[in-house]
Symmetry: C2
Subunit: 336 residues, 2 copies
C-alpha cells in the first residue's frame, strides 16, 4: 500500500488497511511512506503481528498534481515507487495507491513492463448495472487507441469478467455511437472485425453509452478519452440527481415527512449505487497487480481497493491474461 497517496494519505490508508486485515486473515500489508506519520496513525489501533503489518519508510511522496515524468525521474524514493519496486521484486503480491494516476501508470509501466502481447496497459473499473456489473476499459490511460489495443482490451476485460464473476463467455461490446452513417471511427470499425472473428471472444457488437448501465454487456471496450469522459459525465449526472433529491426533500414539511418514511429505501439505493463499493480500478496488462483507488477515497472506499487487490492476487490475474493473450494471438496469426 502506497500509504501517502490520495487526498488524505495515512489518515485514510492506515485505517483502511486495518479494516482489510481484520476481514481477511490471509492478508498481509506493507505500508510504504513516512515512518513517523504512519506510526502515529497506527498507534490508534491494537497492534498486528509484524508478519501481517509493517511499515517501509519512504522519504518522498508523489504529489497529486505532479507531472508523471517528473515523478518517474526525480521521485525514486517515493512511497509509490518503493511500493511498485517491492512488487517487481516479488516482496509483495500487489500494489494499491490512491495517488496521481498518471504517475502510477508511468511508474508501473516503467518498472513492471507490460505482458507479452499487450502494447499498453489499460484502466478497468466495474460499473453497477440493472443486473450486476459491467467492466469498462480503458478509463483514461490511453487517449488515442489503435485497433490492436482495443482488441487487447477486449481480451483483458474478458479474462477479468471470467475470473471475477465466473462468467464462462463474457459478452464483449464495443462502445460506439448510434447514428448509421457516422458510426465510429476507423479504429473502432477495424476492432469490431477483429473481435468478431476470434472464436475465443464472445463479441456481441456495438453498444451505446446508455448500455454501460443497461446490463447488455459484461465487458465494454473503448479508448481512454471516451471512457474517462463517459465515466465522469455519468458521475456528474448522478451527483446532480442527488443534489436535486436532497433539495426537493428539504423544501416542504410534507416532503420532509416523505423523506422520513423513505429513509430506508433511499439508503438502500444509495448503498447499491455507492461509488465506494466499486472503488479500485485495475491497471491491466502489466506484469504485476496494480490497483488505483479514487484520490478522494475514504477508509471504506480504500479498503474496497485493497480487497480488489487481494482478489486479483488470489485469482492470479496477470498470469491468466498472459495465457489468454498467448492463446488468442496464436488464433489471430491464422488471419495474418
Amino acid at each position: 500500500v502506497d500509504a501517502m497517496g490520495g487526498d488524505h494519505g495515512p489518515i485514510v490508508t492506515v485505517p483502511a488497511a486495518i479494516t482489510s486485515l481484520k476481514n481477511h486473515p490471509q492478508l498481509a500489508v506493507v505500508l510504504f511512506g513516512d515512518f513517523d506519520k504512519i506510526s502515529a496513525e497506527l498507534a490508534k489501533y491494537p497492534p498486528f503481528p509484524k508478519d501481517r503489518l509493517r511499515i517501509e519508510h519512504a522519504p518522498e511522496a508523489v504529489l497529486m498534481d505532479e507531472h508523471p515524468k517528473q515523478a518517474l525521474r526525480f521521485k525514486k524514493k517515493s512511497s509509490m515507487r518503493l511500493a511498485i519496486n517491492a512488487l517487481k521484486d516479488e516482496q509483495v503480491g500487489a500494489c494499491v495507491s490512491a495517488g496521481n494516476t498518471g504517475a502510477l501508470m508511468a511508474t508501473a509501466r516503467f518498472v513492471l513492463k507490460t505482458i507479452q502481447g499487450i502494447d499498453r496497459p489499460a484502466i478497468l473499473s466495474a460499473f453497477p448495472t440493472k443486473t450486476g456489473v459491467a467492466r469498462v476499459l480503458d478509463l483514461g490511460a490511453n487517449v488515442d487507441c489503435t485497433t490492436e489495443q482495443l482488441f487487447q482490451f477486449g481480451v483483458m476485460g474478458s479474462v477479468l469478467a471470467t475470473a471475477m464473476d465466473g462468467i464462462v463467455a463474457p459478452r464483449v461490446g464495443l462502445l460506439n455511437i448510434g447514428e448509421e452513417e457516422i458510426k465510429g471511427n476507423k479504429q473502432v470499425k477495424d476492432a469490431a472485425v477483429k473481435l468478431n472473428r476470434n472464436p475465443y471472444i464472445n463479441y456481441i457488437g456495438y453498444v451505446e453509452g446508455s448500455d454501460i448501465y443497461s446490463g447488455k454487456a459484461d465487458v465494454i471496450v473503448c479508448d481512454g478519452f471516451v471512457g474517462n469522459i463517459a465515466l465522469k459525465a455519468s458521475e456528474g449526472m448522478a451527483k446532480m440527481i442527488g443534489y436535486y433529491i436532497r433539495k426537493a426533500f428539504s423544501e416542504t414539511w410534507y416532503a420532509k415527512l416523505g423523506a422520513f418514511f423513505s429513509y430506508r429505501a433511499l439508503k438502500k439505493i444509495g448503498s447499491t449505487l455507492d461509488p465506494r463499493r466499486y472503488n479500485g480500478a485495475s491497471l491491466l496488462g502489466l506484469k504485476g497487480i496494480v490497483i488505483k483507488s479514487h484520490g478522494s477515497a475514504d477508509k471504506f472506499a480504500f479498503a474496497t481497493a485493497i480487497e480488489q487487490a487481494l482478489k486479483e492476487i488470489e485469482l492470479n490475474i496477470p498470469q491468466r491474461i498472459a495465457e489468454r493473450v498467448e492463446l488468442i494471438m496464436s488464433e489471430e496469426n491464422k488471419y495474418v
Copy 2:
C-alpha cells in the same frame, strides 16, 4: 414539420403541432407527410385557419434505420426532404424532424449548405445543470473533429448561449480528461490554444465529463463521438437510478408510505430533470434552422422541439452565427 419522422409519426407530431399553435399565436405550421394519415389525425381537433396550419403531401418517408446516403439519393419525395426543400425555398422558417438523424444531417447539409466559415454542422443540445443549462456540441454529427472544427463549435455555442440565455460572455469549456500526462489528443490541445487567444470567446479552459452537469461552463465543446457517448452514458445512469428508485419505493409498505408523502417532491425533481423539457437539438452551422427531436419523443417533447425552432427563428440564429464567424475569422487571420 416532418410529420412522418420519429418512432410514432403523425400521432405524436400532429397533436404536438396543435399544442404549439395554441400556445404561440405568432406560429404557423406546415405538416409534411402522408395526406390521409395526417388528415385523419387532424380531424380529432378543432380546425385552424389555413394560413396557420396546412398539409403538404409527401408520398415517401425516410425509415429510422435507413442508410443516410440511400435516403438522400432515393427518397427525394420524402416528408423530410420536402420539408428541408421548403426551408431552402424560404417557404418556411425552420424544419423540425424526429426522423433518422444521419439522414436529416446529410439531407440538410446537401440542400441548405453550411454557413461561410463553418466546415461542418454540429448537433447542439441543452443539458440541465445545478444552476441552469449547459449547451454541449457536437453530439454525434462528426466522429473525428479537426482543431478548426472544435474552434468553430466554440463560436457557434457561444452565439446560441448569448441569444437564447442572454449571457453576454458565455463561459466556453473544452471537454478533456483529468490525467496530466495523457491529457487530450492533439486536436483538443490545439483547439485550446485557438479558443484561448481569441478575445471574442470567453474560454475558461478544460472541463471534465462531470462538469457537463456542474454549471461550470455555459458552452461545452467536444467531438461528436465523445459528446454522443457522454450524453447517452449519463442518460443510462439516470435511467438506472430511476429504476432503483422505483424498485426501492415499491418493495415495502413503509417505503410505499414514503413514496406517498414524497410524491410532490419526486415529481418536482422529475419535472426539473425531465428530458422532454430539453428535447430539440439544433443542427448548427447550416444556412437554415433545423431542429432534431428525439425519435421516441411524445407530444409534449415534440412540442418543445417545435418551440425551440420558433425561438431560433425569432432570434435569427443562422444570421447571428454568420456575423459572429465573420468577425472572429477576421480576428483569427491576425494569427496566421
